[in-house]
Each structure stands twice: as structure tokens, then as C-alpha cells.
């Protein structure tokens, strides 16, 4: 960290330490993560894209990872920062295991840890450029929370990052229920992911859905969604348009 002090006669004095450490902008980014609570636990979905500006450069990036036995972390934003966060969590879970006392970190604890990390980095003007979704089940208790790059942290029944906030959450607000079955939950998430695929330029058609229950955490194999393009207005767009010779009868 550097501090630049302006003395009266205009001389700048710089701290002997390394150059100004502030993350200015992200390079390789992941797009939305969407997650919901359902009857048996948590379901989370994200695609496998790593964008480099407007180029869809990497198409096999796993943006959801299991943390310990009880939690799953999904991330959008800068992938290198997500990889660093996974290293911090590795260290955290390792130290937790070293106590060898039969206890293990639950989602609440991991979420709290991440909140502290993200907020402290924000205070130093050197954020980890991610929005994180943390979900899990421990001792029958379902937990779903989110932390942003500026340290805003909260829990809810359904969360989404990035574009998902604008496109997925309205769907979830309308259709989410406390007692969704696994099948209903997956269908609901897929509905959100399909809309994101249609309307988010940085989305790719290769996604994973993760399931968290008391039994444990599993992440599905990558798969693709079918899309629909056969609306009459799509196949024949100029029919009925102002000034066209084609009429919509």
C-alpha cells in the first residue's frame, strides 16, 4: 500500500513500500450465478464461460466448487480472484481439519469468513472482483447467502449475481416456493438460465447445476439447454412492418 502525501511546497512523498495496490478492472470474468433453496437443500446453477472482454474465450471454467463437506461456493467476476479465494478456503478448511475434533465448517461460518475477507479488501481499495454465492446444508439447516465485491452480504431464499439479478430474480420472486421438489427446482433454475442465455451476451450454452443436501454436495456434469426460435415474428420478421408489402393476415 502506498500513501502519497502532499506537502505545502508541492513535493510528493511516497511510502517506501511497493507501488499502489489497487485492482482497477477485471480481465477474465464469469457471468451470472443463480441459486435457490428447495425442499431438501440448495440448488445452484452457473454456466462454464470465462469471458475476456467481449470474447467468449474459455468455455470449460468451473465456477462452482465444493467447500468442505457442507458448502458450495459459486462465483461471478474475475476468475483469478475466485481461484485465490479457493486457496484461502483451502487453508481455512485445512486448519479446521487439523483440530481433529469431529467438527467441520458449515455454510454460515464460510459465508462469514468470506464477508470479512471481501469487506476488508474493499476498505483497502483493492477488492477481489467477485460476487460470491455461498450455499449449503448442515444439521438439517439450509443456508443460502451472497457477498459482493464491496462487502455487501446477506441471506435469502433465492439469490442471483450480475445479469441474473435483473433477469432471473423476477422469475424467482414469482415462482419460488418453500416446498419445491428437486425436479421443480431444477426446472425453475433452467428457466432462469435459458432466459440468461437468450439475453446475456456473455452467457454460453454449457452449464452445471449443483445440489446441496444433508447427504453432501454434488455438481452435475456439464450440459446444454435447448432453445426456441420458431416464433412467427422471428421466422417472418418483416410481415406487418411499417411500409412493407407483406401483410399479417
Amino acid at each position: 500500500m502506498t500513501f502519497t502525501i502532499q506537502i505545502e511546497n508541492g513535493t510528493e512523498v511516497r511510502n517506501a513500500e511497493a507501488d499502489s495496490q489497487r485492482t482497477l478492472y477485471p480481465y477474465v470474468t464469469g457471468t451470472s450465478v443463480v441459486a435457490i433453496k428447495y425442499k431438501d437443500g440448495i440448488l445452484m446453477a452457473s454456466d462454464m464461460g470465462g469471458s475476456y472482454g467481449s470474447t467468449l474465450r474459455y468455455k470449460n471454467v468451473e465456477r462452482m466448487k465444493a467447500i468442505g463437506k457442507h458448502s458450495l461456493l459459486g462465483a461471478s467476476g474475475e476468475i483469478s480472484d475466485f481461484q485465490e479465494i479457493l486457496r484461502y478456503l483451502d487453508e481455512l478448511t485445512l486448519n479446521d481439519n487439523m483440530w481433529d475434533d469431529g467438527n467441520s465448517l458449515g455454510p454460515k461460518e464460510v459465508h462469514n469468513y468470506l464477508t470479512r475477507v471481501m469487506y476488508n479488501r474493499r476498505n483497502k481499495f483493492n477488492p477481489l472482483w467477485n460476487t460470491l454465492v455461498l450455499g449449503g446444508v448442515k444439521n438439517g439447516e439450509k443456508y443460502l447467502g451472497m457477498v459482493s465485491m464491496i462487502g455487501v452480504s446477506f441471506e435469502d431464499n433465492h439469490v442471483a449475481t450480475g445479469f441474473g439479478n435483473h433477469l432471473a430474480r423476477p422469475i424467482l420472486r414469482d415462482e419460488w416456493r418453500e416446498d419445491l421438489s428437486f425436479e421443480e427446482g431444477v426446472k425453475l433454475l433452467e428457466k432462469c438460465m435459458r432466459v440468461l442465455l437468450y439475453r446475456d451476451r456473455s452467457a454460453i450454452n454449457k452449464l452445471q447445476i449443483a445440489k446441496m443436501t444433508e447427504e453432501g454436495v454434488t455438481v452435475s456434469e456439464p450440459y446444454s439447454l435447448k432453445t426456441f426460435w420458431e416464433f412467427k415474428a422471428f421466422t417472418n420478421p418483416t410481415v406487418g412492418a411499417e411500409g412493407s408489402w407483406l401483410y399479417d393476415n
Binding site: D19, S20, Q21, R22, T23, L24, Y25, P26, Y27, V28, G50, Y52, G53, S54, T55, R57, Y58, N60, V61, E78, I79, S80, Q83, E84
Partner: protein, 233 residues
């Protein structure tokens, strides 16, 4: 400062790393530019880190060189401590450490490729920011923009060594044709269990692409050759 989040800094060079059934092939062009001037038309962008791990450098020449030098130094010590050759994964991670922790200052994209006895041939892409991505093939540098479509179509799993090298040479050659920041010769490095082979493909040994003409010694040779045929009626 203009925070144009959608336009990453473009980098001079074309670099490629490809795995095949037995090892990896690394390839690169040889142009180093200072603005519009070609400072070195025959540079070697494929740098050795250990006997079995090499790295393709793109972006700032200085940054990529200093990162390679540090990692070579660390790997040398690591090899002595381990008593056996370093793995490709460890090499990639050391590059990642420097790239990530100095992301504010460095402007270099790297492709690490090599062979070790545990995992065989592996390629790791390390773009700006310090993300590490293990891939069956990787492309980088400004010239790579012209190769995404090409590789989507031409890449296949389990190529032979010859197929892989031909693919790399063709790709670098295509990128050179369209990217002003790439040019010169195509250099390749093949790494497998048997060792390392370096190859050199000068411009005149490469296939001609669209609107490129066969090189001549002089106009005079063309004029002195057979005159134009009279038109048939």
C-alpha cells in the same frame, strides 16, 4: 482514465500450445515490435524453464522475460530439492503466483507447456490477471483473435505428433497473414518423454494464403520469362 471494460489491451504476437497423444507442441511467431517498428524480426518467444517445461511469451517483452527468469530460478532450486524434474503443474503455478500478485504492473500473457512422468503432456494458459486454465490447446497474443474460429473447426483430440505440429505451423502462419503485430518465422518446440525438439519454419517454407503471391527475385525474371500468350479466337 478510460475504464473501457470491454476492450482488453491487445498484445503483439501469436503464441500457441497444443497437446497430442504423447506430449505437447508449442509454437510462436518471431516479431517483436516497438510501436510500428519491428525491433527484432527473428525473436525466440518460446523460452525454456526446465529440461521438460517451456513457456510461450506474449505481451510486454520485458515483463514476460523477467517473469520467465524468476520462474526458471525458482524451478532450478525446486528441482534440486525434489531430486527429480519439476512437473508442468508446478511450473504453471509459479508463473501464476507472479502473474496474479503483480497483476497491476504486469502486461503479459503466457502459455506453459511441457511433459512430466505423472501427467504426460500438459498445456496451461495464463492470461492477463493471473487466471490459470488447463486446456487441451491454448492460443494467445494479438494474433490469436484470428484463430478462434480456425481452432474451433480444425482441432481434434488425439492427434499424432506430425498432425499437431502441422496444425500449429498452419495456425501461426494464418495469424501472421492477418495480424500486423505478428510476423517473421514460425518456431515450434515439441516436448515429450523422449526429449525436446526445436524446429524453424522461415516465411518462404510456408503455404501461401489468400491474395499472397509466390516470392520472386526480381521483376526482371518475370519479364524475361515467356511472354503473354496471344488470345484464342
Amino acid at each position: 482514465m478510460d475504464l473501457n471494460l470491454d476492450a482488453p489491451h491487445s498484445m503483439g504476437t501469436t503464441i500457441i500450445g497444443v497437446t497430442y497423444n504423447g506430449g505437447v507442441v508449442l509454437g510462436a511467431d518471431s516479431r517483436t515490435s516497438t510501436g510500428m517498428y519491428v525491433a527484432n524480426r527473428a525473436s525466440d518467444k518460446i523460452t525454456q524453464l526446465t529440461d521438460n517445461v517451456y513457456v510461450c511469451r506474449s505481451g510486454s517483452a520485458a515483463d514476460s522475460q523477467v517473469v520467465s527468469d524468476y520462474v526458471r530460478y525458482f524451478l532450478h532450486q525446486h528441482t534440486i530439492q525434489q531430486g527429480q524434474p519439476a512437473t508442468v503443474k508446478v511450473s504453471a503455478n509459479l508463473i501464476r503466483m507472479l502473474a496474479y500478485n503483480n497483476k497491476n504492473m504486469l502486461q503479459t500473457g503466457l502459455i506453459v507447456g511441457g511433459w512430466d512422468k505423472y501427467e504426460g503432456g500438459k498445456i496451461y494458459g495464463i492470461p492477463l490477471g493471473g487466471t490459470v486454465v488447463e486446456q487441451p490447446f491454448a492460443i494467445g497474443g494479438s494474433g490469436s483473435s484470428y484463430l478462434y474460429g480456425f481452432f474451433d473447426q480444425a482441432w481434434k483430440e488425439d492427434m499424432t505428433k506430425e498432425e499437431a505440429e502441422q496444425l500449429v505451423v498452419k495456425a501461426v502462419s494464418l495469424a501472421i497473414a492477418r495480424d500486423g503485430a505478428s510476423g517473421g518465422v514460425v518456431r515450434t518446440v515439441i516436448i515429450n518423454s523422449e526429449g525436446v525438439t526445436r524446429n524453424f519454419y522461415p516465411g518462404d517454407k510456408l503455404q501461401l494464403w489468400h491474395e499472397e503471391l509466390e516470392p520472386q527475385n526480381s521483376l526482371l525474371d518475370i519479364l524475361n520469362a515467356a511472354g503473354p500468350e496471344p488470345m484464342a479466337m
